[in-house]
């Protein structure tokens, strides 16, 4: 698939949150304020881009040549867990203020299905190196877009009179549903 098409498809058409249902936990948990949503989104995008690179390398230099496809699941998840640890230590050393902003969200990223899905999909669809990186970065941006939009809406919802039972997860999911509906309109954008 053409690079530009792939990039925009990842952000809008096949949005990881609103189309593939990934990253729902952070999506619901961290979308109360636009600031934290943006921080989480950027952290995720960062980890996703690196994961894309590392998982591609491991898949194409080790797993496939030695016919170890069935180790994909175990390898990828270990890669992600380690990467998140490394990224956390790295950011803490390089930029304490950045660590303050992103720090708490980083460990949560390990269980973010989006990252794992990214590694799996790139392997499944047999993307080459460039495609994998674009796919990873694009999907991360798509996630950030969805979560920031959600935060914007939820900040407004704070002022609305939501029935008790719907407060929290209920209304957030319904809002997500409407957002997903809107994003459906992007389908067919790519040819």
């Amino acid at each position: 698939m053409e690079i530009v098409t792939l990039f925009f498809a990842a952000i809008l058409v096949n949005n990881f949150v609103l189309h593939y249902f990934l990253g729902i936990c952070p999506f619901l948990g961290v979308s109360k304020k636009i600031d934290s949503a943006l921080s989480m989104g950027l952290a995720v995008t960062f980890v996703m881009s690196i994961t894309a690179v590392v998982s591609w390398i491991i898949n194409h230099w080790i797993l496939i040549p030695y016919n170890l496809d069935y180790l994909q699941i175990v390898s990828f998840i270990l890669v992600i867990a380690s990467l998140v640890q490394l990224v956390e230590m790295f950011i803490r050393k390089i930029s304490p203020p950045l660590y303050q902003a992103l720090g708490i969200y980083l460990p949560l990223i390990t269980t973010n299905c989006a990252i794992f899905f990214l590694a799996l999909m790139a392997a499944l669809r047999d993307y080459n190196f460039v495609q994998t990186v674009i796919f990873g970065t694009g999907s991360g941006i798509g996630f950030t877009l969805a979560i920031v939009l959600m935060a914007g809406i939820r900040e407004q919802l704070e002022l609305a009179d939501v029935p008790d039972s719907l407060k929290g997860a209920g209304i957030s999911l319904i809002v997500a549903g409407i957002m997903a509906l809107a994003f459906l309109g992007f389908s067919g954008m790519i040819k």
């Binding site: 698939m1 058409v13 096949n14 496809d69 069935y70 180790l71 175990v74 669809r125 047999d126 389908s187 067919g188 790519i190 040819k191």
Partner: protein
Amino acid sequence: MNLSTRMVVVLTAIGLLSGGLLTSVGLLTEERIALNKQREIEAAIIQVVPGTRSSEKLYEEKDLSVYGGKNEEGSLIGFGILTSGIGFQDKITFMLGTNTALTKINSLNIIDQKETPGLGAKITDRKFFLQYWENKDCSISLSLHRPAVSAPKELGPSEINTITGATVSSEAVLDAVNSTLERLRKLKNEGKLSKKE
């Protein structure tokens, strides 16, 4: 043993056990999985190249596999072409059946798609879409025909009916088929489609 050693030992042990277990399961299921895939392809070939008794993979490149359907005597009676195109939502994988001269399409079999249910997904439906692909003349490029209620027109030998409300999916399949046929004609001229001796 001290803590660090213990950590390493435990992790290594678990890793090795996991690896061992996975390798055995992997070997056990490998054959079955490959068999399933092969069966799926064979069934598709038999469907799109009527009269096939056996098949053989003649050519393969990224995202395109050409199988030859052979009758009882072992002569080539048609091609089963496995390839894919980008649809409205995602990849559409299909098997196209043609005669050996690449001038006639026997039929089309959609193997995998993720189009909109109820609309684009109708490309798998014989009534709505696939019937128009049967016995089509493909010596020239195929084209789409939009069915109109007021003026029903006879479908030309190279025309396919679009699915109402699923133009993009219909066009995607058409474009994929046309470009695949072009590629195949080129391969045939280069002699790449002859039986492997």
